[in-house]
Point group: C2
Chain length 303, copies 2
């Protein structure tokens, strides 16, 4: 934590959302309370200008929001709750640091975690590197590897909105509306992850790389196949965007008892998840309505 | 934690130093044990090519080593012990990622912490963004703000070697020897920080920005002045390099009982720290042998 954090702390304080930990920015390290005798979740994701986003169609504030949200989403995908965030930024000369931190702090507030530290440097392209810590209840975490044949596969919401929004933004950088917003300012599904954990979820992942890819991660880690009956497609998106698009940050999970799942989401006041198929013993199976599931989304953003 | 970590995990495993946590790389988040009922230290520092280092005079392995070590140093400066590291890297096409991770993993092993996660992206310049967690015993952490008038000021070792090494490397990028090594591969003073904590240290900081700057941080945070009798200068370095150079990562601390300090370091089998002066009540005082302490090092690396 370097001296430049004075500026950041000021920005964060102005935004009125910084709830200081025991020792926050300004000393060598932040000091935070940890869950008694418990385990901690730690996740890291960075976004790079020109690779993960383009400032022509999203604002610095959007970049800050999303960089925080995608890390929280990884905690949610374990059935955890976010606690702290550390945010390190590389910013080119003239970069809108205040806008970036405004989005970061707003996202942290929305997702219930506290920015407790970070670092800042100049550089030639904008990089936002975030680490989020999380706590997880005794029954968790929900890994990718626990799905069993016969488990039902659930999704917390329809897919494709982010990819459809990106298509709109590439055609018109000033586009607005729910699809563009879904791409610029995604929300992590923390409450849904907790409900899935309480309902006995056996495996879980957030849909960041696309349904086909992320479902593949769960199937491979668990040693099961998957046969899908349907893929819920967001209004305004195509089936291809829903299967391959990624960045929707809905949670995909498997569970043996569908009625327990519906009950847990109802109890939490959440929209019920959609049962989209089931796990099968043959680990080579990837079907959608009996046809091979397209791999359009497979690692599509890498390389 | 994205899919690219398969490559990193392989590299780390080959290096034979990766001691996996409960859940490591490959799921959405790492799961780590935390000190029972305790508090956790969290620190973040990033290094950027062309700002913090130049690959003309240090190798990718050196960059990895140092990026990890400077984070551990922040934990040491609180009187803590490092636990986990998360490492996110932006690498240009053709970058030597294997060399970078070799240095990171070697540094993590040397400093007693485990790499449990991170992220990886392409980009136009090399960026290494590290977060380190640490634990701290009940008497800690040692903040910057606890120094009191009458406390003795200690340094864990002589200063200036890193700045002298950098001068050598700028003149001859192939330079070797202890000064060049001090700049390329610094060591964090974890054992020394623990000894200082056990000896009742009232304030502590690592000398990363230069003695004048870092002493100023402690004095301002504590509301005391400082009057120094001497500055121990590393062999081959100048007094100016020792006062203003930075990046030596020795610990500067204050303590009320010098004999307790010497005893604690002796008990730990450590080289005794050097008593370099004392804290005074007048918060405006910054003296070296009665003369105004030069501010050559003041925020010299920023801007």
């Amino acid at each position: 934590v370097s001296g430049e954090w004075a500026a950041i702390e000021q920005i964060a304080s102005l935004a009125g959302k910084l709830d200081p930990p025991e020792v926050g920015m300004g000393d060598d390290a932040a000091v935070v309370a940890v869950p008694a005798g418990g385990r901690l979740l730690l996740t890291a994701d960075l976004v790079v200008e020109g690779v993960h986003f383009d400032l022509s169609y999203c604002s610095p504030s959007d970049v800050g929001w999303k960089a925080l949200a995608v890390n929280v989403s990884d905690v949610a995908a374990m059935g955890g709750e976010p606690l702290h965030a550390l945010v390190s930024v590389v910013v080119p000369a003239g970069g809108d640091l205040a806008g970036l931190y405004e989005g970061l702090v707003a996202s942290a507030g929305e997702h219930g975690c506290r920015v407790v530290g970070g670092d800042l440097s100049s550089g030639s392209e904008l990089v936002v590197s975030v680490v989020v810590t999380g706590r997880v209840a005794g029954a968790g975490p929900v890994l990718r590897s626990g799905a069993r044949p016969g488990d039902t596969v659930f999704l917390t919401g329809p897919l494709g909105a982010s990819a459809a929004g990106l298509a709109l933004l590439l055609a018109d950088p000033g586009a607005s509306g729910p699809l563009a917003e879904a791409h610029r300012r995604p929300h992590a599904r923390v409450a849904e992850g907790l409900a899935a954990l309480s309902a006995g979820a056996t495996a879980m992942i957030d849909v960041s790389d696309g349904l086909a890819t992320d479902l593949g991660h769960v199937a491979r880690a668990s040693g099961v196949g998957v046969s899908l009956d349907e893929v819920p497609v967001a209004a305004g998106a195509t089936l291809e965007q829903a299967v391959g698009g990624g960045e929707d940050y809905e949670l995909l999970f498997t569970a043996p008892d569908p009625s327990a799942v519906i009950g847990a989401f109802e109890d939490a006041g959440l929209r019920p998840p959609v049962a989209i198929g089931s796990c099968v013993a043959d680990a080579s199976v990837r079907l959608l309505r009996g046809e091979p599931l397209g791999q359009e989304g497979f690692e599509h953003r890498i390389g």
